[in-house]
Symmetry: C2
Subunit: 510 residues, 2 copies
């Protein structure tokens, strides 16, 4: 019945005994310790208590259940060092917690409310039911903290529009696997669903539909608030100068007109880096974005810029000449990206860019994070080595392009990634801030997002949270992940099966 398999991702230090304590839904209490800096009224924790009550007691409906006098109460007491109840999680937020479960009582101590939220998730996974539906938790002692501070999931809401409710559901599931960054890839060629206050034409003309396929300011606030309560940062990506075709519809003179010989072909390329108006547009847009999204990071993209349209355009070529770039278009791209990064620096935001940017940029600020997305393990190991050697911080996504599907248990590939297995010093390894699971949207929308994402992303979650030595066996992980997947199903997440078998409670939706 009970097993150490009960928590995913695996806590760093975990001891427990066979001594078990019954839990009664009607005599179960969350409370703040007297010394706790946070007390009742703490928005993050008060909301977490309500959520986790239902997650701990999934069968309990509160209707018509008698309370028996002999039921012993169980208290879970939360203590946090900082009253950061109304803040947002950020890159340095501690997620450490200590959880101690004994007779009638559990103590959960953390430096921050975010650590407390992680500890509540762990506690909820420790509780189990016997065949008669009674709830139990075993004597347990846990000291836990994440291996990496950045554990993200990318959703692409440009290639397909993903309704807000599906994003919120994804945030719920992210919290169950202790992910802490939602990377919102909101702009790309096919559509631009973000309804800008300053440039409403971008979505009016660039979204799939100006009314039904957009994220209003209120939608965005809802996503940020839902994420915050779960200790999840929202990292918006406003990718440029490529991947911006959808912007061209609502903003004239922004994209580069491509030429065929000496006449415009009618097609448009990347953002036009030769026009001052481009930088004014980007500064205005990024200023809005900076105020809408509270996170101190912003993702600026910079990937896969195709130079052929720039090359064809006489104004761009004239600009190249004027700037002394010769025929080296990488210098033009460098010039563009440096301007954009400077804008974000001015706005007090730290930039994350795709790895492409690193190749061209000597002048990029040292605090910029490079996002590694290309290639095979041999390839990304080389890049990890090269970029950290240059003193840059990096974020690893390459091995976790989870939109790529194949038949069978591909979660094993996601699990066996070794993010620090590259040639470099201990100082270099510290520059790896974490990893990201990317769900690009070519073939994904709300109809199939959840079963493609879960529990495959959870394999990466354990790699990013847990101690690698304790989680080196994929075969030992298998039954634990099966068990965790059944927990997700029980919580209403359509997480797909890993292999033949069953869950005690199968998915009940349609």
């Amino acid at each position: 019945m009970y097993s150490l398999e009960g928590v995913w991702p695996l806590p760093q230090i975990f001891t427990s005994s066979i001594e078990r304590y019954p839990l009664n839904p009607q005599a179960f209490y969350f409370g703040y310790g007297r010394q706790s800096a946070a007390q009742f009224g703490c928005s993050v924790l008060d909301a977490a208590f309500i959520r986790y009550y239902s997650l701990i007691f999934p069968d309990y409906t509160g209707n018509g259940v008698l309370r028996f006098l002999e039921d012993k109460p169980f208290h879970i007491e939360i203590n946090v060092d900082h009253d950061d109840c109304e803040s947002y999680p950020h890159e340095d937020s501690s997620e450490k917690y200590n959880l101690s479960v004994s007779a009638g009582k559990a103590s959960l101590n953390a430096e921050t409310v975010w650590g407390a939220v992680r500890g509540l998730e762990t506690f909820s996974q420790l509780v189990y039911q016997d065949d008669f539906g009674s709830y139990f938790v075993n004597q347990t002692e846990i000291d836990d903290f994440p291996r990496f501070p950045f554990r993200g999931i990318l959703l692409d809401t440009s290639r397909h529009f993903i309704p807000v409710h599906a994003i919120l559901k994804t945030l719920d599931a992210m919290a169950y696997s202790k992910f802490n960054v939602f990377h919102w890839h909101i702009v790309d060629d096919p559509s631009f669903p973000y309804q800008s206050q300053t440039f409403p034409d971008l979505s009016r003309k660039g979204a799939f539909h100006p009314m039904t396929h957009i994220y209003t300011q209120s939608d965005v606030r809802r996503v940020i608030s839902h994420a915050r309560l779960r200790g999840i940062r929202v990292l918006p990506e406003f990718d440029s100068p490529g991947h911006t075709k959808s912007w061209g519809k609502g903003q004239s003179d922004l994209l580069t007109p491509c030429y065929s010989g000496s006449t415009p072909s009618g097609a448009f390329g990347p953002v036009n880096p030769a026009l001052p108006s481009t930088y004014q547009f980007m500064a205005t847009l990024l200023k809005e974005v900076s105020s809408v999204f509270p996170d101190s990071y912003i993702h600026l993209g910079g990937d896969e810029v195709n130079f052929s349209c720039w090359k064809s355009n006489p104004d761009v070529r004239a600009f190249m000449q004027k700037m002394g770039f010769g025929v080296d278009f990488t210098k033009l791209e460098a010039f563009y990206m440096e301007n954009i990064v400077n804008i974000t620096t001015f706005l007090n935001k730290t930039a994350i860019v795709w790895q492409d940017v690193f190749d061209y940029h000597e002048l990029i600020p040292k605090d910029t994070v490079l996002h590694i997305w290309k290639g095979s393990p041999a390839n990304y190991r080389k890049e990890l080595s090269r970029m950290t050697k240059a003193g840059m911080r990096v974020l690893l996504a390459a091995p976790w392009y989870i939109n790529h599907i194949s038949y069978g248990q591909d979660w094993r590939n996601y699990y066996t990634v070794q993010p620090l297995n590259f040639s470099g010093t201990a100082e270099q390894k510290k520059l790896v801030i974490g990893g990201e699971v990317c769900m690009w949207g070519e073939y994904v929308d709300a109809t199939n997002l959840t079963p493609r994402l879960w529990p495959r992303a959870s394999a990466a979650a354990e790699r990013l949270w847990s101690d690698e030595k304790q989680t080196s066996s994929v075969d030992k992980a298998f039954p634990r992940l099966q068990d965790f997947r059944c927990k997700l199903v029980r919580r209403g997440i359509r997480a797909e099966p890993l292999y033949v078998g069953h869950c005690k409670h199968e998915y009940q939706g349609v």
Copy 2:
């Protein structure tokens, strides 16, 4: 707005004009023609009218809508030649229909109620809405009939248990693509969820769980009834002698004890063909199955029999000697399958068996259908040729193992199959009764079934229903299938996207 793309699978003969007629949900009437053999009270059609009313008018809730006097009524008049309202669809059921849409009226004529149901599906796909939500249908003339009489989908409820509601939802979606056979692969090694009246221990001990992971007699009746109303046959598969490990738990002395040298190893192999009790068990079970499932066909499996356990068992070897089979275990398997087929013949059922059986069996009745599941196109074409040359009827599944997934638009592979492109006479080609999409269950349960099945299975549906010449271009099919996929989404089916883009109405569930 309106296009010929509107019906999937493409009708055989289809003409329409730009003349369009408004439809008002409050002045829309289904009715039986005076000459129709079926009249009000016809269970199949009365139920179809209710279903299709909601499918035709998805926005209409019936609440608070005023009826305007100027609204012109629209009548759809159904005429069928046979009063087969209370029957089950069978292998020879005509699905032909003629649909004529003109001002204020549509006439739907069919030989059977099953043809009328197909015609209602077509009509429902012809109706469209403008940007203000008003409903229209264009002047249309359709003569339609299926290319193949057998168009099936296999679900595997042994490797994972699929709750009844998910099976019913699959039947709904099957009707939208005009599939007409639900092949229920109900037994296999991992579990046996069918609750038998005569052998209740089979599921009590062989299901994943004896109470929650079974199909009761009432569940089975519900599935059959739901399928019947949609013109879908339910073809049960009781696979043997292999793929039966789950039976061993509830029926002692049924499976062959495997030996390691001269002692039993504790493992069990296929059904034991050396014991008379085996045939008594199978006869009793198949008798029950024959009465529970009304279809005149039964699938007997017969695939992938591993001889090593039989070879190890001294009793089986003694039986081989007694029967004069020498060391040719294919003769033993032939002996077993012939006995089982004879049982079904006695029960007035026609057998379908997997292709493996054909290789060993001279004595198999000529009306047995061979189910081709192995190999590459080169391979299955050879088998189609060889088996039809022997005068056997065949059913093609090999190119439609849809559980195998890959990144990208693999529906194109399912679409471009040419089931009759093999070396053989016209007589041989007539022996191809149809095809089947197989969703084996290793990695599939209710969490991911729907988006894996739809619209990928619909690609096969058009191949099996429509004229191959008119549907030879996969590129022309692409926008039509995208459009159809959005219709499925609108109807609440989580059909996954084919590529970048959007539906006017995205999936609204979570």
